[in-house]
Symmetry: C2
Subunit: 217 residues, 2 copies
């Protein structure tokens, strides 16, 4: 019998009562997620070590494993916990809004994510690069449905002549590619652009690009 209940086994002792998190648990779990994001996003899953994450979080390795059962569990918790944040901008694409402005706003929201959450972007990128061993289910599930719905909307706009004729799915993919690139390939972009802030000039450039691509003439 286990005499030391680990926090990650919380559901085991839940019973009829709500499982409340200790202040310490809240603090340390947050520190671990922050540290894991830092390490996983730069080293990839394979290159990351529990020692590195524990060190970054200011904990000992056994202490880390008191809060998460395994390296995989931390990685999965990070990814699934961030998924909603990553999908929100697309969900916000509004059928009632002006088509061109809606798509431009979506692009800007995605570019803001790249600017403000580059590590999260690289974490996702690394996962997809390796063939999405953890996220595959989400890709063929929620993501596929969401993209299907929104690309239908885009193509409706196109059919109504309110934007140029485009492939809805390809349009969404283009927005992903063009915005994520500035986070995922950060060092390359900066090497090529020199001193200028990549995101400022990217915002101007992408604004013009999508306006030209989408506007009816």
């Amino acid at each position: 019998m286990r005499r030391v209940p680990h926090p990650w086994a919380a559901h085991r002792r839940a019973g009829a009562f709500a499982v409340t998190e200790t202040r310490i648990q809240t603090r340390n779990r947050a520190a671990i997620r922050e540290a894991a994001l830092e390490v996983f996003s730069r080293q990839g899953f394979g290159g990351a070590t529990l020692d590195a994450i524990a060190g970054e979080a200011g904990l000992s390795k056994p202490n880390l494993l008191y809060y998460y059962p395994s390296k995989e569990a931390i990685y999965e918790d990070l990814l699934t916990g961030l998924l909603a944040t990553w999908l929100d901008p697309l969900i916000a694409l509004d059928p009632a809004g002006d088509p061109v402005e809606e798509l431009l706003a979506y692009m800007r929201r995605k570019l803001d994510l790249s600017r403000q959450m580059p590590r999260e972007s690289r974490l996702f990128a690394g996962e997809i690069l390796r063939g999405a061993p953890v996220m595959m289910g989400h890709l063929t599930g929620e993501l596929q449905r969401l993209v299907s719905e929104k690309s239908d909307l885009i193509e409706t706009w196109a059919a109504e002549g309110r934007i140029a004729p485009v492939d809805g799915r390809q349009t969404i993919i283009s927005i992903w590619a063009l915005t994520q690139h500035y986070a995922d390939f950060d060092v390359q972009v900066r090497a090529v652009l020199g001193d200028t802030d990549p995101f400022d000039s990217a915002a101007t450039h992408l604004d013009a690009l999508f306006r030209r691509m989408l506007s009816v003439r």
Copy 2:
């Protein structure tokens, strides 16, 4: 004293004579590069193991290390050996050609690379994702110079009114982002697109996108 000269120490015994490669060396080195490409591109540098590469190449691990001094050496040899292939399409951007058609042709060459060499694309992507520990010198050297030259050309075209006014560097970055995405995020693209061949519909879509972006009206 070393009594068994390893092939990778070739320069040590070169002296005044040209160093010729054995048939066996040529075959095994090629097999190792092929295997390493397979493993590194999927597992990343950190996740890859010498055993996995050796197994994929059909060699024993010590035999592998007879041809390369270390894991890092294989990785670096792969990257630097592939760099020229990756830069060639941009080098081929011709000042004498028609501006829009030249840029479209560059985009198509890059998309073809993504289609035909997705593992190489993912290898580069993984390296850049981790902050380019190996390639940083090339990024701030050859790449920066090449991009500088070609973006000047693009902006000359723009100033002459032969294409729409664009930021040369940002235009090149957009071409990279939009084409590499189909190789690097392959599984996501396929999850979203379903059965249709991503590259066929991408070619059509990107052709229209860049035509609209670049053409003067």
